[in-house]
């Protein structure tokens, strides 16, 4: 049996992803079929089921990857396993508890975490356990920390801080004033998203260091510069969510200014694009690389949209439309999920061995189907959002029901693409779950090349530097 705490985290995360996508499909159907499941599972229940499950996919998946890599570095002591399982148990308890709360209509009524506030307590405890395990494993060598250790520490600490901050509304000073409450809510949510990004991107960096056998890029000034830039954005650029709120203009201008520093990241991608493409082509036949290539393309598209949306004059039109949804879906599915799937394929490859021929065929087909349908899905949402913006500006008195009717063609495409997206992801995820359930290491098939094999040392270093 090859199952270990890390693979248990990841396998659970993969199952939760499919569940979250299933709820997402049902919720999307309500856009084109008004009244569909209105009494049994109204949108007020389906939306939180979808959002929370997808967030738990990211949290469980990222935690599993961090534990796997700490184990691979031989930093996890055996007696610490019970704490890792405690972390796992607490997160699963909150995931199941939140689903039960949503089904029974027991809401806290906040975006992302729409469950009752008491369920946040075990979630915070889980992250304190995570922090304890992480710190115990890597402390003592702080001066020799590569960038991904900093990213993981930052991700864990900011998750705790931001989650606690998102419950300030329980205090009357924050909760009774709508504007102050909304400002603090979106401040904390901006940082929460940043915190899981730190965990996921840190794991992706580690993967590249492992593949290349050279982690010098993880200490380079350039890498640290861009990490500090990302951290600055995590802390201060959340304000673009609340340009419309009547808060102090200083908050909005700070967000605007900081958001524009993302142009440096965008410029870096453009500058290195040609080189990246030739590099990626070389290793594209390997499954983890494929997902990283996909994530790169989605980073480019979504970062471009994010920068445009951070300009208040443009945000004025796109805010409150499906352009925002397209951006959220593009980053969650296109970037975070693609990276996590690359990591899952790498880790399961190491633990359970290569996929069977059938499994590999499914994964490859699922890859193209999920990315192709995600593009259509994303474009449909962008189309719906921009059409909505047009009507908002030129027909401001149009009733909402009529406006939604104008958007039905976009929603129909979005629902159809969502179904194919779900099938694509299922094809990608099933071979991994099959490996996990069988729990045995597949004997190496000489006809299948392991995803992490790069023979030339110079190529390994080049790839790692490029990715960083």
């Amino acid at each position: 049996m090859k199952r270990n705490p890390a693979t248990i985290f990841i396998a659970t995360a993969l199952a939760v992803l499919l569940l979250g996508m299933f709820f997402g499909m049902l919720a999307a159907a309500q856009y084109v079929l008004p009244g569909f499941l209105k009494e049994a599972l109204p949108f007020t229940k389906l939306r939180p089921l979808h959002v929370s499950m997808v967030v738990f996919w990211l949290l469980l998946g990222a935690s599993g990857c961090v534990y796997y890599f700490l184990g691979a570095e031989k930093l996890l002591k055996r007696r610490i396993r019970k704490w890792i399982f405690l972390h796992y148990g607490l997160v699963c308890f909150v995931a199941i508890g939140s689903a039960v709360a949503y089904f029974t209509g027991n809401f806290g009524g906040r975006e992302y975490w729409e469950f009752p506030p008491y369920l946040a307590i075990p979630l915070v405890l889980a992250w304190f356990v995570f922090l304890g395990v992480f710190w115990r494993s890597v402390s003592g060598k702080v001066k020799r920390w590569p960038v991904y250790y900093w990213m993981w520490l930052t991700g864990i600490v900011f998750f705790i801080l931001s989650l606690a901050e998102s419950y300030l509304w329980l205090l009357p000073y924050f909760g009774s004033d709508l504007v102050r409450d909304m400002a603090v809510q979106w401040k904390s949510y901006g940082a929460i998203v940043g915190s899981w990004n730190q965990l996921i991107y840190g794991a992706a960096f580690f993967l590249m260091a492992k593949i290349s056998g050279d982690n010098s890029f993880a200490f380079s000034r350039k890498t640290f510069f861009f990490w500090f830039l990302g951290l600055t954005n995590l802390m201060f650029n959340w304000g673009h969510h609340i340009y419309a709120l009547p808060v102090s203009p200083f908050i909005k201008h700070t967000a605007y200014l900081i958001s524009m520093t993302e142009l440096l990241i965008f410029g870096k991608i453009l500058w290195e694009w040609k080189h990246s493409v030739s590099e990626m082509r070389q290793y594209f036949y390997r499954i983890p690389y494929r997902f990283l290539v996909a994530a790169d393309v989605w980073v480019f598209l979504n970062l471009g949209v994010a920068i445009l949306m951070s300009i208040p004059a443009l945000n004025l039109h796109t805010h409150g439309t499906h352009v925002t949804v397209a951006h959220a879906m593009g980053t969650t599915i296109g970037i975070n999920s693609m990276i996590l799937l690359a990591l899952a394929y790498y880790i399961f490859g190491q633990v359970f061995g290569p996929l069977s021929g059938k499994g590999l065929t499914k994964a490859k087909f699922g890859y193209w189907l999920s990315n192709g349908s995600l593009l259509v899905f994303w474009l449909a949402l962008m189309g719906a959002g921009l059409t909505n913006a047009w009507f908002q500006w030129y027909e401001p008195d149009m009733p909402h029901a009529l406006l939604m009717q104008q958007l039905v063609p976009f929603f129909a495409v979005f629902v159809l693409a969502g179904i194919f997206l779900f099938i694509g992801f299922a094809l990608v995820v099933f071979p991994l779950l099959q490996q996990f359930i069988s729990g045995k290491k597949t004997p190496a098939d000489p006809s299948i090349i392991l995803p992490t094999e790069i023979s030339e040392t110079s190529k390994k270093k080049e790839y790692a530097n490029e990715y960083a």
Binding site: Q30, F107, G108, W145, K187, F219, M235, I242, G320, W393
Partner: protein, 144 residues
Amino acid sequence: MSERTFTRYRLIYTLLSIAFVVFSGFVYTQAVPENNKVVSSKAVQGKMLWQQHNCSSCHQLYGLGGYLGPDLTNTLSSKGKGRDYAAAIMKSGTQVMPDFHLNDAEIEALLAFLEHADKSGNNRVHSYKIGRDGTITSEGETRK
């Protein structure tokens, strides 16, 4: 990593953390709109009902929330809408919105909350002025 580089990184990290704490304090204490400082207990009760029924999964306030239903920030002062219109929808739902079986007191509380939202600012897209630097200013917004 050399001692010097480590010290430099630690300094940057510390400065960013301090700036974050100061900025957080500013966000927590910054002035809310003058016309909206007094919040009635009924409006607070309405806000809790808004959360208990998870209204934000379908409706938006200041463009934040779900997109299945309309933005309700200024619905009470919008042409052709108002209190009676909102109360009727709350009472029986619509083709898309379920009937939440709200009693009269709950509907009154939700209306008080929507009134509080309406008075807090103007979220209509035409009420913003666009600056040359790309910034936007809402109608009547004077704070710096």
